[in-house]
């Protein structure tokens, strides 16, 4: 895993991103009761095959961009630690601030939601499970570490209770 993202930040981030959406139930957000033993529908698994390939690539680009940002900052500063800390203060989402990653996460969140509304409750998959929890299985540590830098999911909820 890249040293550009502290491990503690990754663990906190995973927990935050998987638990936070559950607190939106009272707001009318569509929160599927996920049945882990079903693993969603075939359509979800096909969509996930596309997603994991794309997100793995975009997260790599995002990480390179972040590492270059940190390198540039540390070269200009007499104090390396302070420069790195300042970079995280200026951009609290670190590599996850990369606009291409935000667009990708949003696209697949909404695609997962569109599948959910066509399926029975026992086949629905919460978008955060699809985007992050499923990535925890397999060799995607680096990608997970980039995703875990998001302080919150970049998704909106409209007045009708739909993700937007």
């Amino acid at each position: 895993m890249s040293t550009a993202i502290p491990e503690e930040r990754v663990q906190k981030g995973i927990r935050r991103l998987l638990e936070a959406p559950l607190t939106l139930k009272s707001c009318g957000a569509p929160i599927p009761e996920f049945m882990p033993w079903t693993g969603g529908s075939n359509a979800h698994r096909e969509l996930f095959d596309e997603y994991r390939e794309e997100v793995d690539y975009v997260a790599e680009v995002a990480l390179q961009w972040w590492e270059e940002t940190l390198r540039a900052r540390t070269q200009l500063s007499p104090n390396e630690k302070q420069a790195v800390r300042k970079a995280w203060i200026d951009r609290p989402a670190g590599p996850a601030s990369y606009p291409g990653l935000v667009a990708l996460v949003r696209d697949y969140w909404l695609a997962c939601h569109r599948l959910n509304i066509q399926l029975k409750a026992d086949q629905q998959v919460p978008p955060w499970t699809f985007l992050l929890a499923w990535m925890l299985v397999g060799d995607y540590q680096q990608t997970v570490s980039v995703l875990a830098c998001m302080p919150y999911w970049p998704i909106g909820l409209d007045q009708e209770g739909s993700w937007v």
Binding site: L24, A96, Y152, G156
Partner: protein, 143 residues
């Protein structure tokens, strides 16, 4: 200074954002109450480190008006005879009101900086905590 069309859009944005802010703050208060009462095990601030500003209601409003601003820019470009004065981040607040009317505004300036000062300053200060911009660009939009 904003053109009348942008001023109208800003008024609608401020009204809607104020509603989203109030609803998100109420949700946040109730979440913290649940934690204090022991009904919720995790401290809300661990799940939502930036607090109510990151509620999806606020994100929905922010995104909606970001793209409405983009749309209005495109409309202005298509219309004939409108002078194009672009309001950019570095220009905000420095314009000479007598001669500079913005018929085109950068969306990121519209959704944040245009709220700074006056009756909407509370909304500006609220949005300052939205440190992770929920917009996103696709590869073909970078150019």
């Amino acid at each position: 200074m904003l053109s009348p069309e942008f001023q109208q859009l800003k008024n609608e944005y401020a009204r809607e954002l104020r509603d989203s802010k109030a609803a998100a703050e109420l949700w946040w208060k109730e979440l913290n109450q649940s934690y204090s009462d022991g009904q919720m095990q995790t401290n809300p601030v661990e799940l939502w480190p930036l607090g109510p500003v990151s509620h999806p209601w606020v994100i929905a409003t922010y995104r909606k008006y970001y793209f409405l601003c983009l749309e209005l820019n495109n409309k202005t470009r298509e219309s004939t005879g409108a002078p194009f004065v672009v309001e950019k981040e570095e220009d905000w607040g420095n314009a000479d009101e007598d001669i500079s009317i913005a018929y085109e505004v950068e969306p990121k300036v519209f959704v944040l900086d245009s709220l700074s000062g006056g009756e909407t300053n509370d909304l500006y200060e609220f949005l300052l905590s939205l440190v992770f911009v929920p917009i996103g660009l696709k590869a073909d939009e970078f150019a």
